[in-house]
Amino acid sequence: MNTETHSSRSVLGKHASRIQRIGTTLPFGDERHLEAHQWLVDESYLLDAQAYEQWLDLLTDDIHYLMPVRVTTALGTGFDTSPGMAHFDEDKYSLSRRVARFLTEHAWTEDPPSRLRHHLSNVRTFATPDENHLVVESATLLFRNRGDVRESSLISAGREDLLRRASSGANWQLARRTIMVDESVMRMQNLAIFL
């Protein structure tokens, strides 16, 4: 399969799997949807708790984790992301460095830690040509609050994930994620968080 994905069009995602969805949304009662939905809920709790080492274990070694920069363009322009730029354009190494940094005692931006809540919704699951891959779409709303005088901040984003398992019955892992944030100018002081 050699179709275009957000990852394949990004600067650092050429290595990522190009497996795409087929067909329409799986029924909500479908076993595959239930597994994918639970995977996302469990992941949200890890991200809220900043349990980043456990989170890293959920990612495949060839993960591509992409968060494009959204831009305001006229209707019909054909693009709404900044060419050649992203907020995150990550592989396992760069994500592992970010996680390692949070585990030092000197990542000041998260000491004291933020209070985080990833609100997950709108989960849709799609089959792919390979039974060991699923495409899952979801919405996430991250609420972040620090200290006592600063206003809280929010990030709203849609996500498209590619989940993979080594074999039938094995645990699912994240192989590809695209985060489409809903702001062109972020209203959060930094992205020392994951979505």
């Binding site: 920069v69 831009v71 907020h87 460095r97 000041w108 100018v185 930094n190 020392a192």
Partner: protein
């Protein structure tokens, strides 16, 4: 507006009234006397490479369409329809031969000239009622370009951009001219931080002292080859013309070895050697100093660093250009671009971009901790206690003005301006001294422009000595009236 002479005097002796980092009155003065006068970066030519390409950028509240017209000329139009003042272009980037206002349908070519005015005859009685001929979107009062970097000034009488930059232009080449083709700029990432705009500018101008503390974590995770952030004090800071910056001291070697040490491939090094002056080569090759962070007054900064980007001992250099765009006295929009030599090999460009994302920008591991500090500082500066505090910004000089470390001699540092090794706050003081100079000096009243009347006007176009003016008269020739009185400090 109250006089701020006491504040300015304190700032000039290096005792900073803490409230200047969160003070509505000071900010009002900054808007009037700094941001309506200084040269401000808006875009790079590579962002609008083809005719019709445009980006929309702000100078504080003023929106400008920065575009390359069909003749290839770079222009900046005030993004306000001449009819009812609607914002003409509401996208932030794209390609367009014309801009049409959505309100009543007035339209403009990308060189700013009005081409469509519905019912001109029926509604206005033609040219006798509204002189359409020669009308154009209001140009930025002053536009200058250096190394492809496009700057605007709202002051039609501003000194030429090159003069404004002064000897900092020598250092600007390290960031923006590593080959005859110069840089390509990607981005920007944009985000708002609840911090005063001056803090970032000061930090990038000269704060080597914060690195060992603020950025301990990125050293601990092995992102850098140098094991200790304390190495920073072996570097030097320099101030030249209208800007200054920091450097790292490199291990012994010649120019090629030192550029290879920070990760440049030989093909890029060869072009640097052809492009840079002998003095520019000497700073790196003989003196052993490699540029790192820098700021140009008032709010443009640069950074150059060379982290590991994979499980390997190799490092890769990256460059970022960033602007601290003020929103208010306690909020700043950060615009952070990735810059890379246009002639660099494609695999270098990709890995340099990776290095940038890991270190700076909205997700950068350096930037995350910087911003946390700056937000906290700004918040603390708002109250009444901050008005009692004069922060000591005199690092590097004794009480009687004696220097802790002497300036480097021409034999030790081949660049222009004044340079010193070790920790000091010379650059922060130089930046804030310019800030004080601007705040002290009233601005002249701006000329006004009457749409469709007898007066026709546009600003002067200035391009580093190239004569880019056209047939239109300069703004100075427009019959003007004073719009507001300025009270002196």
């Amino acid at each position: 507006m109250t006089t701020q002479s006491r504040v300015l005097a304190d700032v000039r002796r290096g005792m900073i009234p803490a409230h200047i980092y969160n003070d509505a009155e000071i900010f009002a003065l900054e808007k009037e006397r700094i941001f309506s006068r200084a040269w401000l970066f808006v875009a790079h030519e590579s962002e609008i490479a083809k005719p019709g390409d445009y980006v929309v950028r702000r100078v504080l509240e003023d929106s400008f369409i920065v575009t390359r017209d069909e003749q290839g000329e770079i222009r900046a139009h005030f993004n306000m329809c001449l009819h009812r003042g609607m914002q003409v272009c509401r996208a932030e980037m794209g390609n367009a031969s014309h801009f049409r206002c959505p309100y009543h349908g007035w339209s403009y070519r990308n060189d700013g000239r009005i081409v469509g005015l519905p019912f001109h005859q029926d509604a206005y009685g033609g040219e006798d009622g509204f002189k359409r001929k020669g009308q154009r979107l209001l140009p930025a009062p002053n536009l200058g370009i250096h190394n492809g970097m496009i700057f605007l000034s709202l002051d039609p009488g501003a000194p030429p951009l090159r003069e404004f930059l002064g000897d900092f232009a020598f250092y600007l080449d390290y960031y923006t001219k590593q080959s005859p083709s110069g840089i390509e700029l990607r981005g920007p990432q944009r985000w708002r931080v609840k911090a005063n705009w001056k803090i970032g500018a000061e930090n990038f101008a000269g704060d080597m002292y914060h690195t060992p503390q603020t950025h301990t974590s990125v050293v601990e995770i092995g992102l850098f080859r140098e094991p200790k952030a304390e190495k920073r004090k072996d570097g030097c800071t320099y101030w030249a013309g209208n800007g200054g910056g920091t450097t790292y001291k490199l291990p012994a070697g010649d120019l090629d070895e030192r550029l290879r040490y920070v990760g440049y491939p030989q093909v890029m090094i060869d072009r640097m050697k052809e492009t840079w002056s002998s003095a520019q080569c000497k700073v790196v090759g003989n003196d052993g100093f490699m540029i790192s962070a820098a700021s140009v007054f008032p709010n443009l900064s640069f950074v150059h660093n060379w982290p590991r980007v994979a499980e390997s001992d190799d490092v890769l250099p990256f460059i970022s250009v960033r602007q601290w765009q003020p929103i208010s006295e306690n909020e700043t929009e950060v615009l952070s671009w990735f810059a890379v030599d246009a002639e660099a090999p494609e695999d270098f460009k990709a890995l340099s971009y990776k290095a940038y994302l890991m270190c700076f920008g909205s997700t950068g591991m350096f930037e995350q901790d910087d911003v946390e500090n700056w937000v906290s500082l700004t918040n603390t500066a708002a109250g009444s206690m901050a008005r009692r505090l004069r922060l000591n910004s005199r690092m590097g000089i004794l009480a009687d003005g004696t220097e802790v470390a002497p300036a480097l001699t021409a034999e030790q540092f081949a660049g222009p301006g004044s340079a010193r090794t070790g920790y000091s706050e010379y650059n922060q003081r130089a930046l804030l001294a310019r800030w004080a100079d601007h705040l002290e000096r009233p601005v002249a009243a701006a000329a006004t422009f009457e749409v469709g009347g007898d007066g026709q006007g546009r600003g002067t176009a200035e391009r580093n000595g190239d004569d880019a003016s056209d047939e239109s008269p300069a703004l100075d020739d427009v019959p003007s009236e004073t719009t507001h009185e300025i009270t002196g400090a």
